[in-house]
């Protein structure tokens, strides 16, 4: 087996009505890593996952999961992966134990092995003492944990998590990510997770791909992606004046050797600078000379949010809406898929 557990080659999905949800996406996921797939709602994250888990036929291109072709060897692909959808698809009218029994049945485990595995995964997600309760009485976090547990029942080599923390409160989110980290270290399961929480992706993922409008804009470790921006980011709010206009200011600033790039955002000016601490005074004196007043400034180390902004031209955090919005966009996508 090769060291890549997922390989895609120009994977493409076009929905009726010429909607290209995923556009010639090529990437590979290494065995044992936590791979983050980042993008706003409707960027093509879920569509990509659905193709990889064989629930959607690609329009063109190809992919392998665990060395099995996702079109030709669908059964083998399904056996080797676990899938936890963003819907938190647990059965409310069954107990936790029954949910897992059902899942074990779907994966053709014998009764004896099923019992062992159910104990094992319940332990993993700390639900042992609630196993006999109806899932309808579980909290949101418990439901998600049960859902993850049922994705693990057949000991998959790779677990697909679609927005695992969507709609959960902050403590629960942290807990879920703890479990995911534990999976990787204790069970050596590869994790393929989508999220639009950049902070989570930053400290958890070994590598992240940024996808927007069905195209992968960047793919690397979070550290490399941030470094590639070339140092620090200086946010400046410039006062209105009769002096030089924004484009002119940007051109002048770009002449400084420490300034890599400039970008206007929401009336602010973003400067990608080397050694922010020492170059900021020089930028200030230049602006002073140009007669530009500065209302406020913020110097910071780049985050994945900044990486996203740099590659897509917009901030993801604006779109990290609530659960209801996510539901609506999902229903919209479903309608499109018909």
């Amino acid at each position: 087996m090769s060291s890549n557990i997922i390989e895609t080659r120009e994977l493409t999905k076009v929905f009726p009505g010429d909607i290209t949800a995923v556009d010639q996406v090529s990437f590979s996921v290494k065995k044992g890593e936590i791979f983050g797939f980042l993008g706003p709602n409707g960027a093509g994250k879920t569509t990509t996952i659905l193709m990889l888990i064989t629930l959607l036929q690609p329009t063109s291109g190809s992919a392998t999961v665990c060395d099995f072709d996702i079109v030709k060897n669908q059964h083998d692909v399904r056996c080797c992966l676990g899938y936890v959808s963003q819907d938190t698809a647990v059965d409310d009218d069954l107990t936790g134990w029954e949910n897992l029994t059902l899942q074990a049945g779907f994966y053709h485990l014998s009764k004896k092995i099923a019992t062992e595995r159910i104990e094992e995964v319940l332990e993993m997600v700390d639900l042992k003492d609630r196993a006999r309760d109806m899932v309808g009485n579980y909290s949101g976090g418990m439901r998600k944990r049960l859902d993850i547990a049922s994705g693990l029942i057949h000991r998959p080599q790779i677990l697909f998590l679609d927005e695992p923390t969507l709609g959960l409160d902050i403590q629960t989110r942290v807990k879920i990510w703890d479990y995911i980290e534990k999976l990787r270290t204790e069970k050596e399961i590869t994790i393929f997770a989508t999220t639009h929480y950049m902070d989570e992706a930053d400290f958890l993922c070994d590598r992240v791909a940024i996808i927007d409008h069905g195209v992968i804009k960047a793919l690397d470790t979070p550290a490399n992606l941030k470094n590639a921006l070339g140092g620090d980011i200086l946010h400046l709010e410039i006062g209105k004046s009769d002096g030089p206009q924004l484009d002119e200011i940007r051109a002048k600033l770009a002449e400084l050797p420490s300034v890599h790039d400039t970008k206007p955002e929401n009336g602010k000016l973003l400067l990608y600078v080397k050694d922010g601490e020492s170059s900021t005074p020089r930028i200030f004196s230049l602006l002073d000379k140009l007669g530009v007043s500065i209302e406020s400034m913020l110097l910071k180390k780049p985050s994945l949010d900044d990486v996203f902004l740099h590659h897509t031209g917009r901030a993801l955090r604006d779109e990290s809406g609530n659960r209801e919005e996510a539901m609506m966009s999902r229903f919209k996508m479903r309608r499109v898929r018909q």
Binding site: L50, I53, T54, L55, L56, H75, R78, C79, Y83, S85, Q86, D87, T88, A89, V90, D91, D93, L94, E98, L102, Q103, G105, F106, Y107, H108, M134, S150, R334, R335, R337, Q338
Partner: protein, 257 residues
Amino acid sequence: MIRFLNDTYWVLWREIKHLQRQRFRIFMTLFQPVIWLTLMGNVFQRVANVPGFPASSYLNYMAPGIVVMVTLFGGVFGGMTLIWDRRLGFLQKMVAAPISRASIIFGKMLSIAVQNAIQVIVIFVVALIMSVDFNTGIGGFLIVMILASLLCMVFAGISLSLGAVATSHETLIAAVNLLTMPLMFTSNAMMPLKMMPDWLSKIAKYNPITYAVNPIRSLFLTGYDWTAILAAGLMLGLSAFLLTGLAVYLFRQNLSL
């Protein structure tokens, strides 16, 4: 094949668990036949006095009709769980597992048939307590069960086919409402063909419900009418087979709805 049976078993297992948990639903399914038999039996009692009525009391005539009617209503709502599963994302979870697609349809269909069989047994018990004639004993009872199950699968097949393509419950309910009442009243479940207007009796003759009612009624009232039993068995069996195939086909086609 063993895998298919295994998958079907687990889909069925889940549905039966659901049924066990819904006490109110169990109560209603058991109570419904009682209401039909006592209420309808009383309201239409005097119809039996009309000359030419084929049974000694309306209740006797009605009981087989109730069997078929309960079967109809049990079957036509079978597609509901499919739509629920799709909406809640549970369907996606099931098909992401390496299970046979057809087993989801078969499992659900079997659970509907099991549920219906229980209801038919209840009708028999209630009917016997109300001293409805039943002339063919255990053998006749078994044939009634088989025919009722086939009829149930015919309607479950229609319902699951609709459920496979519909995205909302409202669509299915609307379709079911459109279907059931006309089917019921253009059959001889509640009125003999002879007592219908001419045009209606012509329609009623070809209604699948009439096909099922005829042999079941003669098993109640007279004895084994093998021609009617075989005709019903063949016609219902074939329809059930074709409609199940249709449901499986539509389900596969519309998986990612």
